[in-house]
């Protein structure tokens, strides 16, 4: 009888040990993951904050009037946004010098993150003037990318990373182009675009008309993983994707 009592007692003790072990494992696993979601949310918030600041600083920056000059020693300077508007009003696009100045400014602003991040800067309008008479390939008559700058790392043999810079002219809708990056790039961060009003001079029945054009400026940054894949088995750089040309 007493021996049976002893067995029941030790069995109870083992049950308690089992329950406590399960509780301890649960507590340990919860404590290991505690705050991970909050940390991820904080990092994402920080990245978005960084991007929105970058865009604002880019659009407020001054640039030398001539591309080969230094900002602090140049005789003449312009606001970058003014230079972009001036170019766009006459031609509907940016001049080569302006493109280089945009590239240089964004590279400078993002230089603290340049070592481990790739990025894409774009200017896009939902309604350009004059509308493309043939219509865009995706059916919308006049939305188009005005300018796209892509800085991406090419990971070669032996994990050698080479930073490459491209100007792109995507012939695809905005959503498709941005989703292409956001879905394939790890931890890609994008913030709300900044909206600016540009002006376009359009010749209409012999007279020059002034049209207001809304332009969205957006930036996506992501951890360097190499050239991202695009549609099908092609890379993101090809004509049917972002249609990029290497900057010489």
């Amino acid at each position: 009888m007493s021996a049976q009592r002893g067995q029941a007692s030790i069995t109870d003790a083992f049950f308690i040990l089992l329950i406590v072990s399960v509780l301890a494992i649960t507590m340990a696993s919860v404590s290991f993951t505690y705050g991970r979601d909050v940390e991820r949310a904080l990092l994402s918030f920080y990245s978005e904050d960084y991007i929105s600041s970058t865009l604002r600083v880019l659009l407020e920056s001054s640039v030398p009037r001539f591309v080969d000059e230094n900002l602090l020693t140049a005789d003449e300077v312009d606001d970058l946004l003014t230079k972009m508007k001036e170019d766009y009003a006459n031609t509907g696009t940016f001049a080569e010098d302006t493109k280089i100045l945009i590239k240089r400014t964004i590279d400078t602003i993002l230089s603290p993150r340049a070592a481990s991040y790739d990025y894409m800067l774009y200017f896009w309008t939902p309604k350009d003037y004059p509308p493309d008479p043939k219509g865009m390939p995706h059916g919308n008559e006049s939305d188009r990318f005005i300018f796209v700058y892509l800085k991406i790392s090419d990971v070669g043999e032996g994990n050698n990373v080479e930073r490459k810079e491209y100007f792109c002219e995507p012939q695809i809708p905005l959503k498709e182009a941005t989703n292409m990056v956001l879905e394939r790039a790890p931890e890609a961060a994008k913030t709300r675009s900044i909206t600016t009003l540009f002006t376009r001079f359009v010749q209409s029945s012999g007279e020059i008309e002034q049209k207001d054009v809304v332009v969205f400026t957006g930036l996506i940054i992501w951890h360097t993983v190499g050239i991202l894949p695009g549609k099908g088995s092609e890379s993101i750089l090809t004509e049917s994707n972002l249609n990029c040309k290497l900057i010489s």
Binding site: D12, I25, L72, V77, R104, T108
Partner: protein, 170 residues
């Protein structure tokens, strides 16, 4: 009498009789308290880290204002509006360039290294640094780009990108 003898055989007292069952019970208590202590220390560490991140965000947003710093007077005014309790912080403007080298946080805080200087004016907050950062301090760094209106350019005043670096430690 005989019956009593049988009952008493092997009986070594009310605790001694259950001695084998005490071993897993004690083991269970040790496991429980060890995991509880570990969970508590993780909670406290994480909470402390979030406190630092939260403070760094608060300070950088207070210093950034509208993300444009017009001059030293504005920077100084924004600096005085920052109120931090129980933690140490140092913020400063750092020049950006294409070949930006990583910032050594310890010399940034202790020696004002890399902090932008316009003439005699050092764009650091607070100006008088009494607390030093140590190698074993818990540190959070927050960096955000900001526009700075530089009046020292040849052409007059230009707006150029700078980096606001905020270091919080305890």
């Amino acid at each position: 009498m005989k019956r009593n003898k049988i009952c008493a055989r092997g009986f070594i007292g009310p605790i001694g009789d259950d001695l084998p069952s005490l071993v897993p019970l004690v083991f269970a208590l040790v496991i429980f308290f060890a995991s509880f202590y570990q969970a508590l220390s993780v909670y406290n560490t994480t909470k402390g880290r979030f406190g630092l991140v939260d403070e760094a965000l608060r300070i950088s947003h207070a210093l950034l204002g509208d993300r444009q710093i017009d001059n030293y007077a504005e920077f100084s005014q924004l600096c005085t509006s920052v109120n931090v309790r129980g933690l140490n912080f140092k913020a400063g403007l750092v020049e950006l360039s294409d070949s930006f080298a990583p910032i050594d946080i310890y010399s940034f805080v202790n020696e004002n290294s890399r902090i932008y200087k316009s003439g005699d004016l050092l764009f650091a907050c607070p100006q008088e640094q009494t607390e030093r950062i140590l190698r074993d301090s818990t540190v959070t760094v927050h960096m955000l780009p900001v526009s700075y209106r530089d009046a020292n350019a040849k052409s007059g005043t230009v707006t150029r990108p700078m980096l606001m670096v905020v270091v919080v430690w305890e």
